[in-house]
């Protein structure tokens, strides 16, 4: 099939600032659940250098990796797509990518994104690295939908908000709609106290007061920026309410709605799944973790169908 004859894949990014919150485990299991629902899915490991999704999936490291694509050992990113034990699931590995993510050039990033958008699948799931570096942010911001993963701990929630703030401003700054007003935003942010700007919502309000054009540009720039809030490893009733609380906080602070807020329970079986190098949704499909990931997959599939029908 030629590129223009098929619909382009939905790009979903899994990020969230802090390391060790279970991003890769969630991305892997979500990818398996999507594939098991019949969607051709590519799981792309953009955790340059630290990638080990093949281990979580229990498959050999694919012959070619994202690093080979960047080093031009292969021409197309799709050449690096390796098959897995799960039908419809393909892996683009980030393993052995010696490039430091911080050194990824803008042109390389754009090239990777261009190729990601043309992968011959229905969904591309990006497992982003930890941190809020520009590379991680740019993939998160470029995706059709960003999943922000945290755990019910102060450090993780703090990092998640730091990440979201950075992504929000990156999105505003990088949007073609807002580009004519970049100088205005810089000026407003430099003198934020004088302008009474404390929250992103304030910035948007002050910008809107400047002119209707600026307001429209901001709204267009943020259109579709509706992250999915995922809180992993929840145990207490207050943990389970946290995603919904965070959604409310984000609505007030950023003035944006979230697509969904999801609680994924802590589950002892997960350790066994990781140790046996087999995704939990395959090994323990009835476990609370697997059920929650399955529900998340169904939600995302429904949203995708709704947005395709509306498009």
């Amino acid at each position: 099939m030629l590129d223009h004859e098929r619909t382009l894949p939905s790009i979903w990014a899994v990020g969230g600032g802090k390391g060790g919150v279970g991003k890769s485990v969630i991305a892997t299991n979500l990818a398996v659940a999507l594939a098991r629902n019949g969607l051709r899915t590519a799981l792309v490991d953009t955790d340059f250098g630290g990638g080990n999704l093949h281990t979580l999936l229990g498959v050999r490291a694919p012959r070619w990796t994202l690093g080979d694509f960047l080093a031009r050992n292969v021409e197309n990113l799709s050449d690096t797509m390796g098959t897995t034990d799960v039908e419809n699931l393909f892996l683009v590995s980030g393993a052995r990518t010696v490039l430091d993510a911080a050194n990824l050039k803008h042109s390389q990033k754009q090239k990777v994104l261009r190729h990601i958008r043309r992968l011959p699948t229905e969904v591309v799931l990006l497992d982003l690295g930890a941190g809020s570096s520009f590379n991680v942010l740019d993939f998160f911001v470029a995706a059709d939908l960003g999943l922000m993963v945290s755990v019910p701990e102060h450090t993780s929630v703090e990092n998640a908000y730091h990440f979201l703030k950075a992504a929000y401003y990156r999105r505003l700054g990088r949007s073609p709609h807002t580009s004519p007003y970049r100088d205005l935003f810089s000026e407003l942010l430099r003198n934020r106290t004088a302008h009474g700007i404390r929250t992103p919502r304030d910035l948007v309000r002050v910008a809107a007061d400047r002119s209707p054009e600026v307001r429209d540009a901001v709204q267009a720039g943020l259109a579709g920026f509706r992250p999915v809030i995922v809180v992993n490893q929840t145990e207490l009733p207050s943990d389970r309410e946290l995603p919904e609380q965070m959604a409310g906080a984000i609505r007030e602070y950023f003035g944006i709605d979230v697509t969904a807020s999801v609680s994924i329970p802590a589950d002892r079986l997960l350790v066994r799944s990781v140790r046996s190098r087999s995704p939990a949704v395959e090994l323990f499909p009835g476990a609370p973790f697997s059920q929650a990931v399955g529900t998340l997959a169904s939600t995302l599939i429904r949203l995708r169908e709704a947005s395709r029908a509306g498009a």
Partner: protein
Amino acid sequence: MPVPDPDDLATLGLAPGATLGDVHRAWERILRTWSPDSLATYGLLEEEERSEILERLTAAHRRVLAAFGTTPTEPAAEPWEPGDGLHIVLEPDSDHEPGPFLRHLRTSRGLELRAIEKITRIRPALLAALEEGDASRLPEPVFVRGFVIAYAQALGLPDPEDLARTYLEWLETRSG
């Protein structure tokens, strides 16, 4: 009966058609979300911003309740789990009104307002207003309640809820 403004409902995280029960549940969640010791807003904002957002939410809540033909009531008491702070059995009495009582406890332990700020993330100016019982510098009673509870918990008081009740009564007599 007027219908609640959809924007106000959205502010409370509710869709049009929400029942009064939905509004109550949403408001309880909002109070938990924006309480000074909330995990859901940790690292997100300064106390001033918290107060501003709370004012906006409170106003929306009042308007929605008015549309239902009712007014705000005190939130239901939440179960208090003792922290690992030092437990003491002092209680506010005629010698110690609740505000000065908090200050007395704090200073008797050699604690600066900054130390309490570190635990509660409540601004020192606001903590001082709490100790003085200066209603003109304090937000709505429901939020004062949250601040007093956070302060009392930080000091390891055995019953922060009870102190908060006493405190609000005291504040009312002062401003009234």
